[in-house]
């Protein structure tokens, strides 16, 4: 095992533990997380397998394949986050609007001009 493998595996395990503590009630999420962690550790220990898969898909190197998958994954994450921000914004708008309407005041009676 060389330096980079130790570094990556440590990182993956720390992330795994972090999410384990946060998602302790969501069983399905935990299973998916465990699966991803296992696959990640496997490919870190045996990187030559990524090359084989990449070759089958017509990509030269395993690292390139990983890079492409990452781009897709991050685009997906950005879209999910954007949708969530929109929902939050809508909730915030509804709350602020309701309070604003409830607290609307008339500054001065027109008769007193």
């Amino acid at each position: 095992m060389n330096g980079i493998q130790i570094l990556l595996i440590t990182g993956v395990i720390i992330l795994f533990l972090y999410y384990t503590f946060r998602l302790r009630n969501a069983l399905l999420d935990m299973l998916i997380l465990a699966l991803f962690t296992g696959v990640a550790v496997f490919f870190i220990l045996f990187p030559e397998y990524t090359n084989k898969i990449a070759g089958k898909l017509g990509v030269g190197r395993g690292a390139d394949l990983l890079f492409y998958i990452c781009i897709l994954f991050f685009l997906f994450v950005i879209l999910k986050l954007f949708a969530r921000i929109r929902r939050l914004e809508k909730t915030l708008t509804d709350l602020v609007r309701k309070q604003a309407k409830d607290e609307a005041i008339f500054m001065k009676e027109p008769d007193k001009i």
């Binding site: 929109r86 809508k90 602020v96 609007r97 005041i105 008339f106 500054m107 001065k108 007193k112």
Partner: protein, 244 residues
């Protein structure tokens, strides 16, 4: 003497057979503290019901206008002009408004134009009336750069909504109660101008355009839209189309 001059202003502002109190003017204001008073002072003689929506300005507007006969609504946080308009419209509807007009707080609009906007509504010729800077009869001193920007925006609006108006982002509009009940602005940002068009189309509302005068002051130019904000509006519209 005072009575006569007020009567004169009253007639000047409202020659139709509607009670000006049923006309609600929504003024969304975000950090317009420097000019809001003078804008209101010009509007008050028309006797309309005025609703100022403070969209979370850094400095609260209330102390500046607390001696004026206007409704004040305050967003606790800044949400955007679209959100402020929708809040004002909902409030006006809850106060049994018959006609609702939107008016910019930076002093670029002319209060006398509101009457012209109301005319097609009271005559039942339209449900929504848009003010236009580019129709014959309107007076403006618009910088060339802004003119180009607005012309581009027209076609972008056309592309997204199918309505081609002569002006794209004019803050002066009026609608009747029926239209106000059907239009629901969900774009908090500046993209609401396009959204209103889309909803006019969707709800098959009758619309028309009326020339209005715009006064570009140094103040309103500094606060107004730039090419960059034009791009931002465009991307807002695009993203919101995707995420509907």
């Amino acid at each position: 003497m005072q009575g006569i001059s007020q009567d004169f202003i009253f007639i000047h502002c409202m020659s139709h057979h509607i009670n000006p109190k049923d006309v609600f003017i929504i003024i969304p204001a975000y950090n317009e503290n420097a000019v809001i008073r003078s804008v209101l002072e010009k509007l008050l003689p028309c006797k309309y019901t005025i609703v100022v929506v403070d969209d979370g300005s850094a400095q609260n507007l209330f102390p500046l206008i607390n001696d004026m006969p206007v409704y004040s609504i305050c967003h606790q946080v800044n949400l955007g002009q679209g959100a402020a308009l929708q809040t004002g419209i909902e409030f006006a509807l809850s106060k049994q408004a018959l006609y609702i007009a939107t008016f910019d707080a930076d002093g670029q609009h002319h209060p006398g134009d509101i009457e012209n906007l109301l005319e097609p509504l009271t005559d039942n010729r339209a449900d929504v009336v848009f003010g236009s800077r580019f129709m014959e009869g309107s007076v403006h001193n618009m910088p060339v750069k802004r003119k180009l920007l607005l012309q581009t925006a027209r076609y972008i609006n056309y592309f997204f909504t199918g309505l081609l108006l002569t002006d794209a982002h004019n803050g002066l509009r009026a609608m009747n109660r029926k239209a106000a009940l059907q239009i629901r602005i969900e774009e908090n940002s500046m993209a609401h101008a396009t959204e209103i068009l889309a909803q006019v189309k969707k709800n098959k509302l009758h619309y028309t355009e009326i020339p209005v005068n715009i006064m570009y002051t140094g103040y309103s130019k500094a606060k107004g839209q730039t090419v960059w904000s034009g791009f931002r509006i465009f991307f807002d519209i695009l993203l919101n189309k995707i995420f509907k």
